[in-house]
Amino acid sequence: MGKRMRDDEEDAGEVALRKAGMKLPSNIKNKHKRSAEYAKVRAEKIKEKKQRIKARDTAERQAVELGETPPPRQVPKTIENTREADETVAQPDDEELQVDDGVDEFSGHFARAQMPKLLITTSQECSSPTRKFIKELLTVIPNATFYKRGSYDLKQIVKFAKNRDFTTMFVVNENRKQPNGLLMIALPEGPTAHFKLSSIKLSKKIKGHGKPTSHMPELLLNNFTTRLGHRVGRLFASVFPQDPQFRGRRAVTFHNQRDFIFFRHHRYIFEEKEIKELAPVTIGVNSDKKSRKAAPKTVKKNAVVARLQECGPRFTLKLQSLQSGTFDSKYGEYEWVHKPDMDTSRRRFFL
């Protein structure tokens, strides 16, 4: 061959193009002409997509007219529904899980043996943003007290807390004057969970925020699917008292999405509202063009909706490590530790 082989890697499409004698847009040296070519390619793609959608819609309409069920629409792939299958997903009817729940560190709390008592402290440095955050936490969590850190070791503080009958301990860690970590230690022999704390928004900065009451809040734990997630969920639940006052209409949410746990604090209310709904299309009846055009497109219905008013802080947690037993970073047994090579797959989550 007289020609020099430039690129050794050519994918199948490019090979076909080359053989067909058509010029690749990437081989055009002139930027204006090259970008014009790319624009053409893009316009082609958009046109094709429109045609596909049109064809799909006509097929659906025809099927409805004929009285058959329309072909099912493709479900778009999301990260959540393409998540890597995890064998540790906790099934609700799992006996082993129920047995474990009965004997784990939190069974005492769930059996209403004790009212939770929370101790909040900081790392050795405590700047004013951290103090503000802690002040907000004290309003959200009932029966919580803040103690200054002093120069005690964490192990010593754990001992003191146990002596004074605390059930959980929070240590807010900070870096460069901003809180960045939260260490949750369940007492007396509970697991220690270390979280990365981010995106803190104090209630003052939230637009239209409400003032929380002192009713016992309701707890919502969303999306804790795996065994590890279940355990972390129970850890959160052990911080709040077991008897929510529903008349107070206060809800605290820990929502797990892709291993990020979003904390929200709301006051809610149920209301009956008139909502417009698309008129139901019954298959096979009245679906020819004339009657369809005559029938109203939207129907007003009375429905119950929940409205939320956000109060209290808003922050995000990400689990770094879960260690069984109270804080002992050297000799403690870690149930789960985050390693950087766990991040390699974008579809793998652990909570």
Binding site: F110, L219, L220, F224, E277, A303, V304, A306
Partner: protein, 288 residues
């Protein structure tokens, strides 16, 4: 204060570069060196200067500071005072820093962890995307409505079942046909119900003491006996109940608001569900 050079030789006693403290310049010399926390007295004499391998004689010093001083005195008995003095000074300094090291090792050391900028950026991006995927307000509202519908709030609210059933159904985006079917099922209250559920409802009313007597907790109206895991199970419960709902038609809410224990040992394949009804203490007085 004089500026002086430091001596780089490991065997130097003072650390300064002087004629008198240079280990190379003096044929009779002694130092103290530390290996792995133990102190040794090193001595060099002119008799062994032809054999570099055996040049330095090593003596292990006892851990006791006083005894170590005596050992130095013994070994450097007739040596020049300068060397003896400097060796003792070095011994003192070394024992002091070893003590400090041992104390520090007992204390908790804070571990500084680096966060590579790439990872920080990546986390931030992923968090933002997770937030949009979470649709927090909607999911919280949905969960609250599910709880309302499943009767966890008891009689606080008086919304008819139909209404929020519809909203939930709408949010789940079921095809329109199914929706109308569900509506029809609820109104007559008994029609499209599976066999064994019907029996339950009858027997609950009629034979309260009989089948349930043995298995029942002392207080059927109270919630205490039934509550096991509360909040973490609530979301699971709602899922459970959602799956149950899809199998049978939902019960009428008025029946739900009473705490009726699940009859044990009744049906063959009934999934074991611990349904708990949270009711406030205050409410019981309002029932008068």
């Amino acid at each position: 204060m004089q500026t002086q050079n430091f001596c780089r030789n490991e065997y130097n006693v003072t650390g300064l570069c002087n004629r008198s403290s240079c280990p190379l310049a003096n044929s009779r010399y002694s130092t103290i060196r530390e290996i792995d926390g133990t102190l040794y007295l090193y001595m060099k004499s002119i008799e062994r200067s032809h054999a570099p391998k055996d040049l330095w004689e090593r003596v292990k010093l006892p851990r006791n500071y006083g005894k170590a001083l005596e050992t130095i005195d013994k070994h450097l008995e007739h040596w020049p005072k300068f060397l003896v003095h400097k060796n003792k000074q070095r011994l003192t300094k070394m024992t002091q820093y070893l003590i400090r090291m041992r104390k520090l090792a007992l204390k908790m050391k804070r571990k500084l962890v680096t966060m590579p900028a790439k990872e920080v950026k990546r986390e931030k991006r992923r968090e933002a995307k997770a937030l949009t995927a979470a649709v927090l307000d909607k999911s919280i509202e949905k969960e609250l409505l599910q709880r309302l519908q499943s009767g966890t709030y008891g009689d606080i609210y008086n919304f008819p079942v139909k209404e929020y059933e519809k909203v939930l159904a709408m949010e789940e985006m079921e095809p329109a046909g199914e929706e109308s079917e569900e509506e029809e099922e609820e109104e007559p209250e008994v029609e499209y119900v599976e066999g064994y559920e019907m029996e339950d409802e009858d027997e609950d009313d009629a034979m309260e003491d009989f089948a349930q007597g043995a298995n029942r907790m002392p207080d059927s109206e109270d919630d205490d006996g039934e509550q096991s895991d509360e909040d973490s199970d609530e979301s699971e419960e709602a899922d459970l109940e959602a799956s149950l709902r899809s199998k049978k038609a939902p019960k009428v809410p008025s029946k739900r608001s009473q705490a009726t224990p699940v009859p044990v040992g009744r049906k063959k394949r009934r999934p074991h569900v611990e349904i708990e009804y949270e009711e406030e203490r205050e409410m019981e007085s309002s029932h008068v």
